[in-house]
Each structure stands twice: as C-alpha cells, then as structure tokens.
C-alpha cells in the first residue's frame, strides 16, 4: 500500500506524497497507542516521528510521557530538549543538555551551543564548540561562527572574553605603522605601482568605477634579501592609515602542519574585519612549493585555500590590500601570478647610489661622526643592500667603540673607517644575483625576470 502512494504522481492539498504517508503513519501509531498506552518504545517512536514532522507540541507531550514511564531515557531526553530548542525554550533545553553533556552527538552539541549563544552564555558555548571542532575540524556553521569564531567581531558584547580577543590578535601581529612613503628613500617606481594598484582605488573609488577597473588583487615584491621589501609594505599601510598584519615564514609553516585552511581563513577574516588593512605575507614562496613537490596533495590544499581567499570567493576583500614578498620568486606557485591575484610582480632592486646616500645618512644619524664623504661611500658600495650598509656602519662603529675605550675619549667615525669596513663586508646580494641570473637566463619563458636582466645589464 505505501508503495503505491509513494510512486503516485498526484498530490493532495499541496502535500507531498511522503508527508501524506507520514501523516498516515502517525495516525496509525496513535490508534495503536490508544489500545496499549504503556508501550514505551511505541510512544517513543511516535514522538520521534512527530518531531521530524515538526509537530513539536505533540512530540513534547509524548516525550514527557515516555520519561514518566522510564526515567532517564536518553533518547527521550534528547528529543525533549530538541523540542524545547525548536519552541524557543532555550533555558529548559540547556538544563537537559547539561545533564547529558558527555552523551551528545554532533547535532545535539550544536543545538546545545546555539541554545547557549541565545542565552548569551558565550564562554560555555565556545568551550563546547571547540570540542565539536576538535572532533570534526571541517565543521562550519555560519550562525555560530558569526558569534564564536571571530571574537574580534565588534557587534556582540562578550563579557569576560577580552583575554581571548587579545590572544587571537597577537597570534598574527597587527600594528598601525606610522611610516609613510616619504620615509622610504628611492624606490619611486615601486611606490607608483603600489599607489596605482591599491592606494588610489581607496582614495578615489568613483574614478575607478567610472573606468570599470576592478579593484583587488595583490602585489608580489621580489628581490635580494635586505632591500626593503617589508619596509615598503609597511609604508604602504602607513600611507593610507591602515592596519598592517605581517604573516611571516613561521606563520606560513604552521599553516602547513595543522589546521591550515582554518588558520588561513582566520587571517583573511581578521583582515576583512579590520579594513582598511594591509595583509603582508613575507617569504610567500614557502606557501607555493616547487614543481616537484606539487604532487603532495597536502600542499595543494593551502595553496587552493589561499587562492580562494584572494579571489574573495567567500567574502569580498573590500579594503584589504594583499602584499607578498619573496626572495625566491621561482619557487612561487604559478597559480599565484594569474590576473586578479598577484598580477603585479615588482622587482625590488638594491638601492641606487642616491638611495644609498640617503640610507647612509639615516644610519649615521645620532652617531659621533667626523667629516664623512657620503658620496664616496655610496660610490664604493655598489649592489649593497640596505641591510648591508647597516652592517658596514655597524662594523665601523664597533671598531671606533674599541678605539674610544682605549683612548678614553669618543673617537668619531670617519670616511676611511667606513671604507675599511666596506672591505670587510661584501655585498650579500651577490649570492642572490648569482642564482637569479641563472633563472633569468634559462627559465625566462614568460619574461618574468626581464627586470633582473635589465638590472644586470644583460641582453638576451
């Protein structure tokens, strides 16, 4: 008989055949129950069917009746709590769930968490939710997540949760840089690129809309170590008065091992909530493994998640500027370079002579100096990075410190001391260029390394 109804094409009163069948079953069960009212399993079955049919009031009566007959029946308790939850009697549901705490399955736990959230017991809710996530890391529920996953969410007051907010933030160091582009010597080309790509869209959104230019995407900075990639990223944040989140090598590494996707999502969420914000990934090549390693699927996950976040699949990246730096651009996954992602790839070269002069001036500030021919020193340090110049001055300073101790009076730094230090400290960029040169010569199919060839004055 049920077969026939199930297969029939017609509907009665807009009800689906399945509902019709259920209503029939419930009616039949009710009749059976009236004959033997002490049959506990039968009543329980009926109550559960009613619950499924959203007949909460009737189900509640039957569950209570079951509990009177067999006290402590877990199924009945859970069913009752479920009814309370759906009828909005959260505190009653919480009492039952608390009794059953260790016997709850995932669905029940989630209802428990939701009840707690509704009753504003957020701390308890978070504790239970953590257990659920520990058992099933991929679990997601938007309603709960909006309350619990992002504690920095400003809309909800969370009594006693201040500590958690802090720890969440300090995991990914957020700051508000004070330096501006004006504080960065040289690098005009890079400043222009960053400005055009991510600063102007924030300042003149209408103009960009008029031209139909999509904002978003990111900039990948590459170049030898110590040439100011991080510094210019910070300055970009300072320029637009935005917050700055720095994700370093070890943060990225932690992503590989452990809850990678979740962590990555968290970072992007944090940036979105704190817009305008500059999200800076240092040594981003650690995320895209080399071609040979791509077979390992674990690595693909993080890359895909990262790309999805960048594309703004789940949420728009309005006001989030994504910058990344690497000194091994050849290890960066090719998928990162597609339009809409890191579609601007900028070579951050060692400072030119003018840039070096400025750096030397600023490094020497506040130090006891004699007469110093800055121009001469700048000429003597071709291909030196900012970090190299720092090291040179440091060597000279140490030398002078020792001399001062011996002489008993402060000995100022002179040009010849610096020139001597230059002989001791060779440019660390040389090693990088030796490798980069090979890539530019032999693996430059897409013209990615043309800037390097230009800088090294090589023609192909």
């Amino acid at each position: 008989m049920p077969f026939k109804i199930y297969n029939s094409k017609y509907k009665i009163n807009g009800l689906s055949p399945y509902t019709l069948l259920m209503n029939d079953t419930i009616k039949n069960l009710e009749e059976a129950l009236s004959v033997s009212p002490d049959n506990v399993p039968l009543r329980l079955h009926l109550a559960e069917l009613m619950l499924e049919e959203k007949m909460y009031a009737e189900a509640m009566l039957h569950f209570s009746a079951v509990l009177q007959k067999s006290y402590g029946n877990i199924k009945a308790q859970k069913g009752l709590a479920n009814c309370y939850y759906h009828t909005g009697k959260f505190s009653a549901a919480i009492i039952i769930y608390e009794q059953l705490q260790n016997q709850l399955n995932e669905e029940d736990s989630i209802r428990f968490v939701k009840c707690l959230v509704k009753e504003n017991s957020l701390q308890e809710a978070a504790a239970i939710y953590q257990k659920v996530i520990a058992a099933n890391p991929s679990f997601k529920d938007e309603e709960i997540d909006s309350f619990l996953r992002m504690p920095s969410h400003t809309g909800v007051a969370m009594p006693g949760d201040e500590e958690d907010v802090d720890s969440e933030d300090s995991a990914y160091f957020m700051e508000k840089p004070k330096i501006k582009f004006a504080d960065v010597g040289g690098m005009q080309r890079i400043k222009n690129e960053i400005s055009l790509k991510i600063i102007q869209p924030l300042k003149n959104p209408e103009l960009y809309k008029a031209f139909g230019k999509k904002t978003g995407g990111g900039i990948l900075l590459y170049g030898p170590p110590g040439c100011g990639k991080t510094f210019i990223a910070k300055a970009a944040a300072g320029e637009i008065d935005a917050k700055f989140i720095n994700i370093g090598l070890h943060d990225i590494l932690d992503m590989w091992i452990g809850n990678s996707e979740k962590n990555l999502h968290e970072i992007f969420e944090l940036a979105r909530q704190n817009a305008p914000c500059v999200l800076f990934f240092d040594e981003v090549d650690a995320m895209g493994a080399s071609r040979a390693d791509l077979k390992q699927s674990a690595m693909r996950h993080v890359i895909n998640q990262f790309l999805a976040e960048m594309d703004g699949v789940g949420a728009a990246n309005e006001g989030v500027l994504i910058l990344a730096a690497t000194n091994a651009p050849w290890s960066v996954d090719a998928a990162f370079r597609r339009p809409g992602r890191f579609d601007r790839i900028i070579f951050v070269e060692p400072p030119d002579e003018k840039g070096r002069e400025e750096i030397i001036k600023s490094v020497l500030q506040g130090k006891p100096v004699g007469d110093i021919d800055i121009k001469k020193i700048a000429q003597a340090t071709p291909e030196y990075s900012g970090a190299d110049i720092n090291a040179v001055v440091d060597i000279a300073t140490e030398e002078k410190l020792q001399a001062s101790m011996e002489a008993g009076s402060i000995q100022p730094i002179h040009t010849k001391d610096l020139l001597k230090a230059i002989k001791q400290h060779r440019a660390t960029t040389a090693e990088w260029f030796a490798t980069a040169r090979n890539y530019a010569l032999y693996a430059n199919e897409s013209g990615l390394y043309d800037d390097i060839l230009k800088y090294m004055k090589m023609k192909k």
Partner: protein, 420 residues
C-alpha cells in the same frame, strides 16, 4: 611525528636548508638522541655542501640506529660527493645488505661505479635496481650512462627514451642524455637537452657545464679534443697519465723513421707539425673555444670571469705571436737594423708560448692567494714579458733573457704534463 621535524622537512624540501637546520637544532636540544632528526640535519648539511660535517652527523645517527639502511645510504652519498669511492661503495653495500629492496641504493651504487670506470659492474647494479623498481629515474640514468660507455648505443637510446617517458620533466635525465649525446659527438642535440634541463632547474651546474661544452663543440678542433678527452677519461687514470709520454715516444720514433730516407723526409715534418699542433692545441684549445663563445648570445653568460679573461689573453698572445712571426719570416722588416730576423723570431715565439701559462692562470690575478702552479705561471708570464721588453730596448743582449724564459717554459711544460 613531531611538528618541528615536519616543518624542518618541509623547509628542506623547499630548498631552505638554513631555516631547516635551525628548526632541527631546536628539536635536538630537547632530544639529542633522535636519529631521524640527525639524518635530516645531515641532509641540510649536504644541501649546503658541507659534506664532512654531514658525514660526522650521520655517523652519530648510525650509532644510534645501526639497523637503518637509509643512514648508510646517506653516509655513502657524502663519501661519493667527496670522491671517496671506496668508503662510498662500502656504505652502499651495507645499506643494500640491510634493505635489498630499495632501488635508489642500487642507482647510487651504479653511479659510484661509473665514477670508478667499472662500467660493467655499474650496468649490473643499475639493472638490479630496475628489477626492483622498473621506473626508478636514478637507475635508468645510470643504466643509460653505463650502456653509452660500453658503446651499446641502441640500448642506451632506448633506456633514455624510457626514462624520459617516465618523467619528461626530470632535469637529471635531460642532463644525462645531453652528456651521452655529447660523447657521441652530437653537440647540437646535446645542447637542446642541456637547455631543457636548465629550463627545469636553472641552477644545475652539471647542465650549465654541459651546455658550455656543447656550444664550444661548434669549433671543430675543440670537438675533436673533447672526443679525445672523453676517450682518455674512459680508459682510466693510468693511461691518462702515460699518454703524453707515449705520444712523444710514438712521434719521435715516427719522425726518426721518416728521416731515414729522402723520399719520406717531408712526412717527418708533417708528423712533427701534427704533434706540435696537438700539444699546443691541448693547452690552448679550451681558451680559444671560450673566445668564440664570447660572441655567442648564450655563451657569453655561461663563461666565468677566469675563463673569459684567459680566453682573451690567450688569443691576444697567440695572435700577436703569429703576427710577429709572419713579420719576421715574410717581410724581413728588421733587416739591417739591430732587430735582425732571429731576434724578431725569438720575440714571436716568446709571445706565442706565453699563451700556455696565460691559459692556466686564475683571474683576477692574486699572487698571495694563488697555489704553486699559479705562481709558476705568473712568474713565467712576467719573465716572458720582460724578455719581450728586453728585445725591444736592448736587442743585442736580450737573447740571454729569452733563453732563461725558454728553460723556464720547458720546465713548466713538463712539470705540467707530469702533474696529471
């Protein structure tokens, strides 16, 4: 598995041995007796070319876990990189004894045996490895190389094609094929494979060296010389050492024989000329080929500073030498003056012969840091230049200095030959 070690491994796989080393040392502070961490540290050290340190570390790991075959493999690899083939073979045998079912062990062993010119044994080991894992790239490469050395060309080609079919993106295979082709004289095809290998891994020094040789082979005499050096290298060290003396004796005998009768007198000069060309060529041909490379769009960047400068100086010395010689022989320009024909001839010869020490020197010239050979070359060049100056300003007395230079040159030559 410990998270720190996982991260270290990841860093190592990403080519960041320095960062990986920091992580491992951090872990070893807590667990100094973890043999797996020690083996990872060894790999870091190897990646940074610190083979001695790496071997010392893996020795510790072996004493902690003497049953782990991989550690012997690592130790053998370190010895192989240091050209200590006896120790390398010993360790690889131990690794294979402990785990006879790992193809990679046989592959490395085959490569070590290739290095010691035991081509048949190498082929055997590569085949054993392939019996375990039919698509092992290392074994396929070793097999291809061994077959090529054994002149089994067809089989070698088949093996190389097989290896490429397994992994068309293996820089290793492309480099092997390149060298094999180069050895058979097909320098253009070889260059293609070296380029492909460099496209995949631009920092491969082996492929860079191969590409350079392939490009230089465009100069025919260099190609012949390269073939000769492949041949003599395959024959083993003893013959390589004896060859210059053998050649000298053979040509001496030939020349004396030809001189016996007037009919073959001309052949004696031909033989002498061939011998001289061979000797001079073997010393200077590399620099001359490098000189041609300077005008090649890729080649000019493939040369190191030393190669570039020795190419320029050698070619300059030779061209000047020839110019002066032809001046003396064909124009008779100095007749009647203090610069008679003999003096100019001597100057030309000095100039020409300077090409040899110039080609052997390291550039930029740093007398303090140089080794003995380099200092000898430097002294000889200085003497040569002085004798040239002397010829110019005191032609009458100059011959004494030229003679001194000549003696030095002969000494230099023979000490150089006997050095190998």
């Amino acid at each position: 598995m410990n998270v720190i070690l996982d991260q270290a491994r990841l860093l190592l796989d990403q080519g960041r041995p320095k960062d990986a080393e920091i992580k491992i040392k951090q872990f070893l502070q807590q667990e100094p007796d973890n043999d797996y961490a020690l083996s990872l540290l060894t790999r870091c050290l190897y990646d940074r070319k610190q083979f001695d340190d790496g071997i010392a570390v893996i020795r510790n790991a072996i004493s902690l876990a003497p049953e782990e075959s991989f550690y012997y493999y690592l130790k053998g690899f370190g010895h192989y990189q240091k050209d200590d083939s006896v120790a390398a073979i010993d360790n690889l045998h131990k690794a294979i004894q402990l785990n006879p079912y790992h193809a990679e062990y046989y592959g490395l062993l085959a490569f070590i045996l290739l290095g010691t010119k035991n081509f048949n044994e190498a082929l055997g080991k590569a085949n054993e490895g392939l019996a375990i894992e039919a698509d092992n790239i290392t074994c396929l490469n070793a097999r291809a190389m061994a077959l090529n050395k054994l002149k089994k060309t067809d089989e070698a080609i088949a093996t190389m094609q097989n290896a490429l079919a397994q992994d068309p993106d293996s820089e290793f295979t492309h480099t092997t094929i390149g060298w094999n082709l180069l050895e058979r004289g097909k320098h253009q095809e070889a260059a293609k494979h070296f380029r492909e290998s460099l496209r995949i891994n631009p920092v491969s020094q082996n492929a860079q060296g191969g590409l350079k040789e392939a490009l230089k082979s465009k100069v025919p005499p260099y190609k012949w010389l390269l073939q000769y050096s492949f041949w003599i290298n395959n024959k083993g060290k003893k013959l390589k050492r004896a060859m210059p003396i053998l050649l000298l004796i053979v040509f001496r005998v030939l020349i004396t024989l030809f001189r016996q009768s007037d009919a073959t007198m001309g052949l004696a000069y031909v033989a002498g000329g061939i011998y001289l060309l061979f000797v001079i060529g073997s010393w200077t041909m590399n620099s001359i080929a490098n000189f041609f490379l300077l005008f090649h769009p890729d080649g000019k960047y493939a040369l190191s500073g030393t190669e570039k400068w020795s190419a320029i100086t050698v070619v300059t010395a030779m061209l000047t030498g020839f110019a002066i010689l032809s001046l003396a022989l064909f124009t008779g320009v100095g007749k009647g003056t203090a610069y008679d024909e003999d003096t100019i001839l001597a100057a030309g010869l000095v100039c020409l012969s300077l090409a040899l020490p110039l080609g052997e020197m390291d550039y930029p010239i740093r007398f303090k840091m140089a080794n003995k050979r380099n200092r000898f070359s430097f002294l000889l060049v200085i003497t040569g230049l002085f004798s040239l100056l002397a010829v110019l300003f005191f032609p009458a007395q100059a011959l004494l200095l030229v003679l001194l230079y000549g003696v030095g040159f002969l000494l230099y030559n023979w000490s150089g030959v006997l050095r190998y």
